[in-house]
Point group: C2
Chain length 494, copies 2
């Protein structure tokens, strides 16, 4: 050690003395102050880091927490008369009577779509909603080409029934297959959504009820109308959400003698089917969904963060259907006005849609076109000529019209989204074997790993490069093929 160093070292406690320049002195003072400051900051940093970890832990616990299922009352009553317990299964027929036809034709004549006043803008396609030109085309089919008598015959080609479940007359279509003894007949509950109906399944039903060479089973189809939809009676008091509908659908299957069965659902039908699988896992042999979403908080957060951080990784093969986040958010904002209104003021918009077939037709048509392919809104006339024949769409609209059930159907939004049960149920996993069918333009869809958080036995999934929200209605063949494939997997799994 040099002498200089030694001297300095010796005088380590006397640095303030005049051996150093003033600058050095100030600098040392600064160093001391800074040292204390640094220590405090560092302790704070450590505390904050620990606190952050603790917060992340709390968030994780909250996201993965499995709440108790809401209390199940399988005998709750929803009807006007809750004392009679009628267990009959009564045949039913769809009726388009002469009086009904006269009524709707009178309203057609009064059609007030005055060209001058509500002509949509040129070259805006469907960006302002239904374009008046496209609607005029659709309407002229309804008034001039839609054959009421033929169509009602078509609608009655399957057997319809009513039976009273929990005080409500529930309508359903039931189709038994013609099958040899060596082909096992298995029951399949088909659940529609809004603004659909049993009509969605008409093309798929023969494909599901006809035996196939590669399969040793075939389906008996039970396709009910949800309570308040079409010919199923609506409740007379609030509270009939998708959770309660799940109980009613399960009780319907019991009434028909099935204690175990398969379920297929899309839209609200997905939610209800998912609830049945969650509440009564031992009764559901398998769940096929064409609305492949997991609505849990963890899933929502993953979708959001994934979009910000690494879409291709989090999208896991279907990133083009989930991201870019900004586009998706804008899309959801633009396309959820109907849901916002229906979730808050169902009766207002219900009165509005009950009084005019034109009103009802245009409102439902709007949703069918956008949900089938959201790019339709940039097509001349909304692409209405491309995806459906008009009779199909009108059958579905007519079922709502003749039953005057649009208001009660809308209430499913308010009952379901205003409550907290939906979120609770999304947090509870189910072990029922599940299969996901993803059509390209489905509004919401999640990859397998996210679905597995809810459906722990997701046995497989199918991605189609075409099609939209109404799988059975749009693509009956792909739909039926996939249901067969899925149920085979379910049966092998058991």
């Amino acid at each position: 050690m040099s002498k200089k160093t030694k001297n300095k070292s010796v005088n380590v406690n006397n640095l303030d003395k005049n051996e150093k320049s003033k600058t050095t002195k100030d600098s040392s003072k600064f160093k001391i102050v800074f040292g204390v400051f640094a220590k405090i900051i560092s302790y704070l940093f450590v505390i904050k880091a620990l606190f952050t970890i603790y917060c992340i832990y709390l968030v994780y616990v909250s996201l993965t927490n499995v709440p108790d299922l809401p209390k199940v009352d399988v005998n709750v009553r929803w009807g006007v008369d809750n004392n009679t317990h009628d267990t009959r299964i009564r045949p039913y027929r769809v009726i388009f009577s002469d009086a009904m036809e006269s009524e709707i034709r009178a309203l057609f004549e009064d059609y007030r779509l005055m060209e001058r006043k509500i002509k949509s803008f040129k070259n805006t396609a469907w960006t302002y909603g239904v374009h008046s030109d496209a609607f005029a085309q659709f309407f002229s089919h309804w008034i001039f080409k839609y054959k009421f008598r033929e169509r009602v015959k078509f609608l009655n080609k399957y057997d319809h029934f009513l039976t009273n479940i929990q005080g409500l007359d529930i309508h359903f279509v039931r189709v038994k297959p013609k099958a040899d003894k060596n082909v096992k007949v298995v029951p399949l509950l088909l659940l529609h959504g809004w603004p659909g109906s049993v009509r969605e399944f008409y093309e798929a039903i023969p494909l599901l009820t006809t035996p196939r060479p590669d399969y040793d089973f075939v389906f008996e189809v039970i396709a009910p109308s949800l309570p308040g939809f079409v010919f199923s009676e609506a409740p007379t008091r609030p509270g009939l959400d998708t959770y309660e509908m799940a109980i009613i659908m399960r009780n319907l299957m019991r009434r028909l003698g099935y204690t175990q069965y398969y379920i297929q659902g899309g839209d609200f039908g997905h939610m209800i089917g998912s609830h049945i699988a969650t509440i009564f896992p031992s009764e559901v042999l398998g769940f096929h969904t064409n609305f492949p979403v997991n609505t849990s908080k963890l899933s929502l957060l993953t979708w959001l963060l994934g979009g910000l951080l690494w879409p291709s990784y989090f999208g896991n093969g279907i990133e083009d259907r989930m991201y870019p986040l900004k586009d998706k958010m804008e899309f959801y904002l633009e396309e959820t006005g109907y849901s916002h209104l229906q979730s808050t003021k169902p009766d207002t918009i219900g009165i509005v849609l009950t009084d005019s077939p034109v009103a009802l037709g245009s409102y439902i048509l709007d949703r069918f076109m956008i949900f089938t392919n959201h790019t339709n809104k940039f097509e001349d006339e909304g692409g209405i000529d491309k995806y459906y024949d008009f009779d199909k769409l009108l059958d579905n609209i007519m079922l709502y019209w003749v039953s005057g059930s649009i208001t009660t159907s809308l209430r499913i939004y308010k009952e379901t989204f205003a409550g907290s049960r939906l979120n609770n149920l999304a947090q509870v996993p189910t072990s029922v074997p599940t299969w996901a069918l993803r059509l390209k333009y489905e509004l919401f869809q999640h990859p397998d790993y996210m679905l597995r958080w809810k459906y722990t036995n997701l046995l497989g999934s199918t991605n189609l490069d075409y099609g939209g929200h109404f799988a059975a209605f749009e693509r009956p063949k792909d739909f039926s093929d996939d249901v067969f494939k899925a149920v085979k997997a379910f049966r092998n799994f058991k």
Copy 2:
């Protein structure tokens, strides 16, 4: 200095040697490592603090940034025929013809509000939207007690005119006062919103056009229908937002010979009036608003932060109308479904509402009741018996009905909220003297200090402990009194 110290000091570079216990050695090592760590953390802390300050500065700049006004083209044309330049002011009369009455009565007869099917739930008041019982009451007044002939006479009690502005026939009511020479007649532009019309001002007009003892001025009233509303022609192409409407309204006043005038507005009328005051400040002598909001980003953020931090301070006297934040957010979510739909799909809901008077009536009634007093939804039958006589409400609905203008009126939502101009204009202050009238149940309202960020010469404000969104319609006397008071202040200020 003790020998020990000296030794230690001397050996400062040899601390690793065996002069100290292992514990001390380790502790020293820790101290050094911790010291380095602390220094790094502290530097990072300082950098982060500076960065945070910089970010806050950027946010502040962005919030208080005054953008350029959008380019003003006062000659842009909106009509079908944009070559003729007709500057006549043509008399106009409201007509409820026999044919119109037959048509609406035929539709009344076809009224499909089937009791069984769309009966609203008992004891839910208006929480599901318009209650069917309340609507039945309202409807029976329409069909049995509303005297078409008397009402159209009433609607024609003031002089109506049409004049072509920028290619569109604009409808307006104009009422000149009977005043002595010593009373100055000043022009007042009254601007309505949605779903209102010129009918909103019918009770206030005589109060505004009659001289008062304490005032040396009286009003000549010009109340136009906004483009696309009622008898004002709608544009044939997209883009006519509130900004463009402001230009049309200003040009209307020029057509009538006024280069300087007062403006009163609520709802969209507030926005349009505010835009005129912002774009043409030298032409507006004063701006009276009964929709006292500042829609700038700074204002929105202040409202949000204020609600989280210190509602009573940020509310500045009207905190009960702005907070609690949670309640307000829930309220806005519940009550903006109509706006969400109209901002995205105006033509869809437009076709729906054009075809049935029942549809139109219930949809508009819903908004009138909630906006008048949002607690109406918890009242039996929505309080419809408490606030208005039905004739008043029906007059307004009839104006939309006979003109078939509901679709074109709805487009104001899409044009305005889909664009970016609204936000830009909110950021630009105006020096036009301003006065705010706050009715208790107005949906959105801000305290004076927030209004002053936009209206730098806010001369005063009035808070009423009653009333709602439709000031002139609900409280014509309070409304007129306040306009007189405000204009006196404007005149003294000049």
